[in-house]
């Protein structure tokens, strides 16, 4: 690790070196250990008292440390709670770790400091069984209410075959059904309100406009929304748990399915920290190929957003035009990756294959074709008076509110903050590209759409630069942990052959350590926090997704508006339920 960053010294100066223990990590994110009793105080200091404060609760998660072998210099801990904060003034993260002991640990809530901690703390309880004291409404958030055990604990089985065979006797069935019955108090809602005649409306999980299996319980006064409570978890597939079961290499296809409209962008978010742990430097050609594919998928994802958003507002046709364009895009993606939605195409140390012959012609054709289409859609959608009447001034969020609630990506830029992780914390060579960061002014539904539309144009610019300046050279790193390695290296001598054999059959053993990287994914900041215990599998894979906090802001944005506005807000936030529930 290089010279110690300023924030650690600031904290040690303020609270003393014995309170704030420093840990060095591979990702160079300032990481400190503090006592459980000081959490509220130190986080408040970081958020409110220091200069250039840490405004965003970027992530909150935990690690079950009980079976971990390699954690030299770290305090004794059974469960470690990890707070990760982001400062926009410093352009820097800070990671605060808290060691908890025992089998049923507990910690104080920080919801009084960050209201967005609500869901994260529920997840702590749900996944790790860490009790959060003082939390307003601690509940299972991803698992069903009757679930036994806490899935991300090491003693919880990862496969159904590790559990006793599944049975559902009649009485259990009835019990489950009863637990699913709607009781307003369970949702923090009042059944009767004075001077108002309110109605509960169950919205989803099967509803045309929830874009996946999202359920909202809406309390209505006529058609006006008094309260909305989102219910997530219907799309939970245990992606984080699977990270602890799959080898580093075979986990890549699972990442595709997290934000299932993001394709290779997920691969990149996962591979950057893994490569950091392994110490792999990716060759230039692979970097540019990665950037090009990511931008193609960004357009792909935004097109789906654009079309379905227009459709949510009742415009029938745009979605058909945009899916036609998406099909053109998929032709390129198919030619390159051989797959469409789930490409599984990036590899540790590079990409799966070199670009196919004639790829540049395909991409150039698309670059020729797309701008005219985007101009047409401006007239069809963005400039349409009815569309504007439905979206302008609806679901307004200020920059401060957005940061407070962990909003990133286009939704944050729509509020007016020019913040793009491709520019601010460049990765994979994004600093070599010329592009602008579109922003909005009002933070309403219209701006959220406008920002995405402009981003598609910027992505086209980036792709153009990729085509013009595609560097020659290998598409994979010569590093021994590159999986699978370049073929010629496997045939060099017996050592490389053994390397290849082991890395492919068992998976590459990644050196112990912790690394995190957050990238500008299609929906916002997607970050993987991976911990290796020196094994062929990850010890802990934390996926910080953008859609999770975005869904959490829905009640705030929708309060007092109409049902139709709720639809507009849901559409404009551009979430994917796979990304929310993981």
């Amino acid at each position: 690790m290089s010279d110690p960053p300023g924030i650690i010294e600031e904290l040690q100066g303020r609270f003393g070196a014995e309170t704030v223990l420093v840990q060095t990590t591979r990702d160079a994110v300032p990481t400190v250990w503090i006592g459980a009793d000081r959490v509220g105080e130190i986080l408040r200091h970081l958020k409110q008292e220091i200069s250039r404060p840490y405004g965003m609760l970027y992530d909150l998660t935990a690690i079950d440390e009980r079976t971990r072998q390699n954690r030299p210099g770290q305090p004794d801990s059974d469960f470690t709670v990890v707070y990760q904060l982001l400062s926009f003034d410093r352009n820097e993260y800070v990671r605060i770790k808290v060691a908890l002991r025992g089998d049923s640990p507990s910690i104080r809530t920080i919801t009084d400091l960050w209201p967005s901690a609500d869901w994260y703390e529920c997840e702590l309880w749900d996944m790790f069984g860490i009790t959060v004291q003082g939390h307003p409404h601690l509940r299972r958030i991803l698992m069903p209410p009757w679930w036994k055990g806490h899935p991300l604990r090491k003693d919880h089985p990862a496969r159904a075959t590790d559990m006793t065979p599944f049975t559902m006797p009649q009485e259990q069935y009835i019990d489950y059904e009863e637990q699913l019955e709607f009781r307003p108090a369970d949702w923090g809602l009042q059944e009767h309100v004075d001077n108002a005649d309110l109605m509960f409306l169950n919205f989803g999980p099967q509803h045309p406009s929830t874009h996946g299996v999202l359920r909202l319980v809406v309390q209505l006064d006529g058609e006006q929304i008094a309260h909305v409570v989102p219910d997530i978890g219907y799309h939970h597939r245990g992606a984080e748990k699977m990270g602890e079961r799959q080898s580093w290499h075979t986990y890549i296809p699972y990442t595709d399915r997290v934000d299932y409209l993001g394709g290779v962008v997920n691969n990149l978010a996962y591979l950057l920290p893994v490569e950091k742990l392994a110490g792999i430097e990716v060759p230039d050609r692979a970097k540019v190929i990665r950037v090009m594919l990511c931008e193609l998928y960004r357009i792909y994802s935004h097109l789906v957003f654009y079309g379905t958003f227009a459709q949510d507002l009742g415009a029938l046709s745009p979605v058909f035009y945009m899916f036609t364009d998406r099909e053109r895009l998929l032709e390129i993606i198919e030619a390159v990756c051989g797959a469409r939605m789930h490409p599984n195409w990036f590899r540790i140390g590079g990409v799966a294959q070199d670009l196919p012959e004639g790829w540049d012609r395909l991409v150039k054709d698309f670059l020729q074709y797309m701008p005219a289409r985007l101009r047409e859609y401006d007239g069809l959608v963005m400039k349409n008076r009815l569309f504007q009447a439905r979206t302008k001034g609806i679901g307004v969020s200020t920059i401060e509110e957005a940061i407070e609630w962990g909003v990133t990506g286009p939704n944050l830029r729509a509020c007016g903050l020019e913040w793009d992780f491709r520019k601010k914390m460049p990765y994979s060579g994004y600093d070599q590209f010329e592009f602008d960061i579109p922003t909005g002014q009002h933070g309403d539904c219209y701006d959220r759409a406008a920002v995405r539309v402009e981003e598609m144009r910027q992505s086209l610019r980036i792709i153009q630069q990729c085509v013009d300046h595609m560097p020659p050279g290998p598409y994979k790193s010569p590093h021994p942990l590159t999986t699978p390695p370049l073929k010629e290296r496997t045939m060099y001598d017996i050592e490389t052959l053994i390397d290849h054999f082991l890395n492919v059959s068992w998976g590459p053993p990644i050196p112990p350590g912790e690394a995190f990287f957050g990238i500008e994914a299609t929906k916002g900041n997607n970050g993987y926090y991976v911990i290796s215990d020196g094994n062929t599998m990850s010890y802990r894979t934390r996926i910080r997704t953008p859609s999770f906090p975005h869904i959490q802001t829905v009640p705030r944005l929708a309060r007092g508006l109409m049902i139709s506005d709720l639809i507009a807000i849901l559409g404009s936030l551009d979430f994917v339920m796979g990304d929310v529930d993981r």
Partner: protein, 318 residues
Amino acid sequence: MHSVGISLLIVFVVLACILGVASGLIWLERRLLALWQDRYGPNRVGPFGLLQVLADIIKILMKEDWIPPFADKPVFVIAPAITVITTLLSFSVIVFAPGITVVDLGIGVLLFLAMSSLGVYSLVLAGWSSDNKYSLLGGLRAAAQMLSYELFVGLSLMGVVMLAGSFRIADIVEAQRGLWFCGPQFVGFVIFFIAGLAETHRLPLDLPEADNELVAGYHSEYSGMKFGLFFLGEYIGITLISAMIATFFFGGWLGPVLPGLLWFIIKTFFFICLFIALRAALPRPRYDQLMSVSWKWILPLALLNLLVTGAILVSRTT
């Protein structure tokens, strides 16, 4: 005896034609939308997919006649019939060509207005009897939207009635021999068109259904032929409003060279296609926006139109 026979013949021919046209419209709409949206639409069953409608009708008739146990059964059953009956009754006063009409009523316009007002009951009762919250919201929206736009249907037609000096539809068409009323009554035409869109609750003014918001609105709980009746009622409604626009503002059967009946069909068909084009082109406004436009803009405009038309007529006669 002879005239009764002819009248009966006309009744059955009109009924058969309208039902045929309405189901044909389903095919037409799907094909036209597909054409405008760069896709194929139904093109597998029969030539150009024409028999798709037949296949759909067979399917919908074969479906289980399901009534939800929580529904108010008699009302639930009656509701879809109302929309079909009222729209079909309205056709009785339409003059397709000189002499080709079911009844030549002196108050033809009023019957049309009365029937379209009654049509609202279908939606409201369907929404209410389903005992489903989405249906209820759809029914409420239908009540508010259709009652307010009902007003403008009447008001926008009064200018035409003043110019023609009669409620009889044949007289109104004859009065357009020199100049179609879409000229002097352009404002009335635009208002009638918008109100007609709201009356038939078609996109962009399909708020009672609004599938993106209310799943299927007032008919969420309907299936089988009862749903089919709502569907049919909607398409008969489009045909009716298009026929009325042709009659009141575009000279009905009047036109050079071609026979009157053909002119009437061409004009009606044109407006049907316009209805479908609007559906392909526009998003849906919000419920309160729709209401505020209707009361703050369309109502004063309709009244002003009436006033100006009246003033001009009075100044001409004096």
